[in-house]
């Protein structure tokens, strides 16, 4: 009787039965998974303890070291690794290298899955995402293999610490400046040593574009949290005009007033309306690749703004004789003319590594050994450690333009920007508002209101 009932039961009942069975199976599977988890963490702790007890610098050791870069950086790093393993034959270091795309995603996935490498190259702007996990990084201050005296205390404090703990070593320092196409400047009779304000940029740009409709004095992409209109134009203008960053990290509010914001957005709008800047849609096709912009290659573009570590690619694209650098634009009548500075990248060691001592030793060697410095060169920008910097400087291995940018940056460096200002979600909101202003969808006043509203709302959720 029962059999027939089920067979003849209306379809929904059969459906429910099927779903119940599959869900039960799934839960059973998930349950198996969870119970397997608990022993996992236990064994991880015991093996770590056992490992550090048994660790000596002579036992055979394999380390995993992850970094991103281009071919040149890969080659230099691999050579440095080779040198280290010559000096320490018991150590094998496996490089896990790739391009920038997907690096952070992969690293985060590895951290969650507890499979991260022993040594990790990081971008300091990722700290907020990693803040809750800061325990997985070795405290550099407490490790006796690491010599922190090679770096300036302020850099360590500002860019290498989470919650007061130094968790990474700065690998290189980036200054900030404009990349100039000299041929363009010559063509339009613009002196190379012009100190730009946003206002003079707009005026001069207007003149240049009216004379040659294909030429633009300035070009920049819409960008992301690592660069573009939001931080390099609007943010930079506000910082220079008002003297402080628009985000107040202490109490999670916005420092800039409505008037100041309107002024900033008006400047942004004028920058594009005047023809000083290449139309945003077109320039954005070269996000992160502005050196591939045909206008750059054909001297139809005057300059762009970028970090000093990118000098090589801009210069290489148009040739040394066509290239020059300069200070980034300031706001006219502004409160300061400080220039952005940041570490190009930082190096952290996983505290869950089975070979923390050896990893730390390698990290220290890589950053402070003169041999290593010579091998690595400026592949990670100008080295932050004093030892490495001096070695390269004395050997004349620092590019003169990179040196020039670092010089004027170091003469008047800006404080570190609040990390929340660089948060990806917030950067995207700012970027979108700037785009709307540039494409004429928002007036500067409306944009200021939207900024105050949307950005504050997002900041509230992030706290």
């Amino acid at each position: 009787m029962k059999k027939r009932l089920i067979k003849q039961a209306p379809r929904p009942v059969q459906l429910i039965f099927a779903i119940l069975i599959t869900v039960m199976l799934a839960i059973a599977l998930a349950g198996c998974g969870k119970s397997a988890n608990v022993p996992d963490t236990d064994t991880a702790e015991t093996t770590a303890a056992a490992a550090s007890a048994a660790e000596s610098l002579d036992a055979p050791v394999t380390l995993r070291f992850a970094w991103w870069g281009s071919d040149a950086r890969h080659e230099a790093t691999l050579k440095a690794i080779e040198k280290y393993t010559e000096l320490h034959p018991n150590v094998t270091i496996e490089g896990e290298y790739q391009g920038y795309d997907g690096y952070q995603q992969k690293l985060m996935t590895q951290i969650v899955g507890k499979t991260e490498p022993d040594l990790m190259q990081l971008d300091y702007i990722w700290y907020p995402d990693l803040a809750e996990q800061s325990d997985i990084f070795v405290n550099m201050g407490e490790n006796d293999k690491i010599d922190l005296s090679a770096y300036s205390k302020s850099v360590l404090q500002d860019y290498c610490s989470i919650d007061g703990k130094v968790i990474s070593l700065p690998m290189g320092t980036n200054g900030f400046g404009i990349m100039i196409n000299k041929a363009f400047f010559d063509k339009h009779n613009i002196p190379l040593d012009t100190v730009w304000t946003w206002e003079t940029l707009i005026e001069e740009g207007r003149r240049v574009h009216e004379a040659n409709p294909t030429d633009y004095l300035f070009a920049l992409e819409s960008g992301t949290s690592t660069g573009g209109i939001g931080p390099f134009v609007m943010g930079a203008y506000l910082y220079s005009k008002t003297g402080s960053y628009w985000a107040n990290e202490a109490d999670n509010t916005i420092n800039a007033s409505r008037e100041e914001l309107t002024e900033a957005f008006t400047m942004v709008r004028d920058l594009y309306e005047s023809g000083a800047a290449q139309p945003l849609g077109e320039a954005s096709l070269f996000t992160g690749q502005m050196e591939q912009n045909p206008k750059w290659l054909n001297a139809e573009m005057g300059f762009t703004i970028d970090w000093s570590s990118t000098v090589g690619k801009y210069k290489g694209a148009i040739g040394e004789e066509n290239f020059a650098v300069g200070m980034p634009p300031f706001a006219e009548g502004g409160n300061n003319q400080k220039i952005s500075i940041k570490p190009s990248m930082v190096l952290a060691v996983s505290s869950r590594s089975k070979n923390v001592e050896v990893a730390a030793d390698f990290a220290n060697w890589m950053m402070t050994d003169p041999e290593a410095a010579k091998i690595l060169g400026t592949q990670r920008s100008v080295p932050t450690s004093q030892v490495a910097f001096d070695t390269l400087n004395d050997a004349g291995m620092i590019d003169k333009d990179v040196a020039a940018i670092c010089e004027f940056t170091n003469a008047n460096p800006a404080e570190p920007s609040p990390l929340i200002q660089g948060n990806t979600e917030i950067s995207d909101i700012v970027k979108n508002i700037c785009e709307q202003v540039i494409f004429g969808e928002l007036t500067p006043e409306a944009a200021a209101d939207k900024f105050l509203n949307d950005v504050q709302a997002k900041m509230n959720t992030l706290k």
Partner: protein, 300 residues
């Protein structure tokens, strides 16, 4: 009577045997992650911390506090409606033309398939930009004919269309399926029609199309499902711009999951996408039931 019953239940069990690999794979590699993601969609989960249950908040926020949610949905719908019909029609026409036994047909087929081999190759961004930037090849060709250039990728009103061209360019896989289907149409049907004096248009619509309806249906379904999830072009060429005009839903999902690390919200978004696709295809299934011809008698 009894023998028949026995055979039937044995045959039933054999059916299960054949689909066993799928059942296993489904439970472990699909259902389990699926149920996990459903659970995550009701949590606040930033990948580095433990998921915190927050009920329906993700879904509510999606519809009330996220203007880009609607924008990306609209963009995706437009993209699907632009790219899928164009792609299917092109693939079918080219397949019909390539179904002839003329010399060099193998070469031609390969040529039309190669764009699909590109996939999401790293070169795609460079190629599409080279073709469609303001000073790109297409505009220069137009200039030869004195046609004013179009801002293919830099104008918010045009960029989405240019992206759908990328999808259409890669019609190769649909074409291959159509070719395979065309091959299965029995020659004698064509013979009979020609004897009866039918024109090629008549033959096309009365014989070819009906005979390949299962594959036609399949192709349209697959292209729909893929188009909803299309990601590569928007990611590598325009990055959602300009002015978020090419911000497709898959890109939004990627941003939430892997740029903002809001896995809970991303899971919720993906469930919404999932349900949308199911709804779309359910309608399509119903609609096509009446139109498809199955050789096995439709006994399903």
């Amino acid at each position: 009577m009894k023998i028949k019953k026995g055979k039937k239940s044995r045959r039933e069990n054999v059916g299960y045997l054949y689909i066993l690999p799928w059942i296993f794979g489904f439970l472990v590699f699909q259902l389990y992650p699926l149920v996990s993601s459903l659970y995550y969609s009701f949590t606040d989960f930033s990948i580095t911390n433990i998921p915190v249950f927050i009920g329906l908040k993700n879904y509510i926020d999606m519809f009330t506090k996220d203007p880009l949610f609607y924008k990306s949905l609209m963009n995706t719908l437009k993209y699907v409606l632009m790219s899928v019909p164009l792609k299917i029609i092109t693939a079918l026409l080219v397949a019909v033309i390539l179904n002839q036994k003329i010399k060099g047909i193998n070469f031609y087929r390969t040529i039309y398939y190669i764009p699909s081999i590109f996939g999401g190759s790293v070169a795609i961004a460079i190629l599409w930009r080279f073709l469609f930037m303001d000073s790109g090849l297409v505009n220069r060709c137009l200039a030869i004919f004195k046609i004013p250039g179009v801002q293919w990728l830099s104008n918010p009103k045009v960029a989405l269309f240019t992206l759908s061209l990328l999808s259409v360019w890669q019609f190769g896989s649909s074409m291959v399926l159509f070719l395979a289907a065309l091959k299965q149409v029995p020659e004698d049907l064509y013979e009979a029609a020609r004897i009866d004096g039918g024109s090629w248009i008549r033959i096309f619509f009365s014989i070819t199309i009906p005979m390949i309806t299962p594959v036609l249906f399949f192709n349209i379904l697959m292209q729909l499902v893929n188009a909803f999830q299309d990601f590569t072009g928007a990611f590598v060429i325009t990055n959602g711009g300009p002015l978020n005009s090419t911000y497709l839903f898959a890109l939004k999902l990627y941003d939430e999951a892997f740029s903002y690390y809001k896995m809970g919200y991303a899971s919720a978004l993906s469930w919404v996408l999932f349900i949308m696709i199911i709804a779309f295809t359910a309608v399509f299934f119903k609609f096509s039931d009446t139109l498809t011809y199955y050789e096995d008698g439709g006994d399903y």
